[in-house]
Amino acid sequence: MDFNQLIIIILSTMLIQNIILTRFLGICSFIGVSTKKSSAIGMGFSVIFVIVLSTVITWTIYNHLLVPYELEYMRTIVFILVISAVVQFVEMFMKKITPALYKVLGIYLPLITTNCAVLGVAIDAIGKDYLKSSFSNMLAYSVGVSLGFTLIIYIFSTIRIRIADYEGELPKSLQGAPLALITAAIMAMAFQGLSGVISIG
């Protein structure tokens, strides 16, 4: 296990190959929950937990059960079942332990199941050469992607709060989701400035 490589994977997936800004995965919750800072952070931490846990489970099932028995074609169904189960348990714990956060996240909490970023990371982890052969690389990748998701959704929520003060001055056709998407596009262009700083496989 090369510690430097793990750091590079985490930083690269967090900032340079950010899953929201470069691959447009997880846009639903990114737009939907970023109106308040508290809900953005709550969603971010829930997604970190779900992505890391579900990727570890799916990677293990894929490499130790599906590949040896030549059942790789069943991976999507298996992965969806794993993600659904993990989200159910997250929702259960959140109801019990942090009811306030549960209330803030509302409908978006069960919708983590349909967050394509979660399934995207699980599929990446078994598809990329440097991830499918190494558990530590896969763990670093899933941590980096989910931290990147949380970072971007938090930054975006702070921008949206500031923009909201001036939104009334804009034409109606630009208010709400269109303005959010334009802001996200400018953010994506800004983060493109980091491309090439670090490169992984």
């Binding site: 059960l65 059942l71 069943m74 298996v78 079942l81 929702e91 109801k95 409908i107």
Partner: protein, 79 residues
């Protein structure tokens, strides 16, 4: 090999379904925190949104008002 494959697949899918069912069962059993009984949102007043608690009543009132306005307008036009 084929029999093994079927058994392993049934085991994986069955096991995951059982875990998911346990999660759903316990999730439903735990009461929803106070204030979350009705799924609603306070982001907008969109009466077309199903999550708006007063959407149906609001919609009925809007339709009634529009019919009244239309009738009044028609009355004025016909005169």
């Amino acid at each position: 090999m084929i029999l093994e494959q079927i058994l392993v697949l049934a085991g994986i899918i069955g096991g995951l379904f059982i875990i998911l069912s346990i999660g759903v069962y316990f999730n439903r059993k735990i009461p929803v925190p106070e204030g979350c009984m009705v799924i609603g949102c306070d982001h907008c007043d969109d009466t077309g949104c199903g999550f708006n608690p007063g959407s149906v009543e609001q919609l009925k009132a809007d339709i009634k008002r529009e019919i009244e306005e239309y009738k009044v307008k028609e009355g004025v036009d016909s005169e």
